[in-house]
Point group: D2
Chain length 102, copies 4
């Protein structure tokens, strides 16, 4: 109960350059410091773990671009939680891949 | 500092009916109980207030469909925060409307 | 069939100012030129109409910040479509408000 | 010009089971049939290619859960496009990973 898969995207606005990697790297370091399972993808970071820890990590990571000079930050979080059975990052992908193959 | 405009969408999965209003109404009641400014739109609920309270409200509202029988819940949250100047729901819309008219 | 409610958010990245209203106003003008029902909210624009027209409008609006000088654009679109019965912006909000009151 | 990285999530509502893998697998097959680069993640599918083809693929995939019996479908699409230089799925992740290590 309370274990979720989530995706978070945190971007600064108005930084003067279309390259955001510098900010995203610092956000990622912060997300990785909370003991959650994390996966960096081309469109965000996927987190697996207790919902309260996920929210704590997102709260902390949302501060990072401000610390690094941004004046505006946009954060998007998608949470997927099911309570009838265990769900992991791997089981979600495997379930779909198995069905595609069969 | 810490005041944000956010949008939250919370939906149950696998409930057996395409009508989700019953769940959404209970989610909405919960969101409205935190003293934030709220606006119900056709695509979600917009919140204005302190980020920590927003996260607390979203955390509580995410539980509601489970309490009401859902086995899986998807929650999406978008946060917009700027720290160079005050931003409100009204000022965001007015700023765009003014520019469209001029 | 094919009639949807959708929400679109289109933002430029790296423009040098945290104020995005100038870009959003031009995006909004474009979205309004497609004959869809539109509603500007503090967190985006809600559209109602034929899905193909919605996609055409979003495709056109995504170009606008580039035309206006942006080098990177992020566009987010959420589509909600049900085919068992008619759904409008008004009916979605009314359905929830009625349930909250009852 | 017009090459984007995008993420799409397509889910049916009211199917009666919290397991959505059957629907997602069919959506994924459709997305893979358009000649785009695709990556299935635990939270959606990432696409790389021409924006018009991405929109065509999403439009087609949005139909799939209806074909398979769903009465309501929610589709979310995030598009990231930059025009000052080439961007790929790999380059986005590598850029962040390099900065984390340095």
């Amino acid at each position: 109960m309370g274990k979720v898969i989530a995706e978070v995207v945190i971007v600064p606005h108005g930084t003067g350059s279309p390259s955001l990697g510098k900010y995203v790297a610092e956000v990622e370091k912060t997300l990785r410091s909370f003991g959650l399972k994390t996966m960096l993808t081309p469109m965000g970071t996927i987190l697996e773990g207790d919902l309260d820890v996920v929210l704590e990590a997102v709260r902390a990571a949302h501060e990072i671009p401000f610390r690094d000079g941004a004046l505006r930050v946009g954060t998007t979080l998608r949470i997927d939680e099911r309570r009838d059975r265990e769900m992991t990052m791997e089981s979600k992908v495997r379930s779909v891949e198995d069905k595609i193959r069969s």
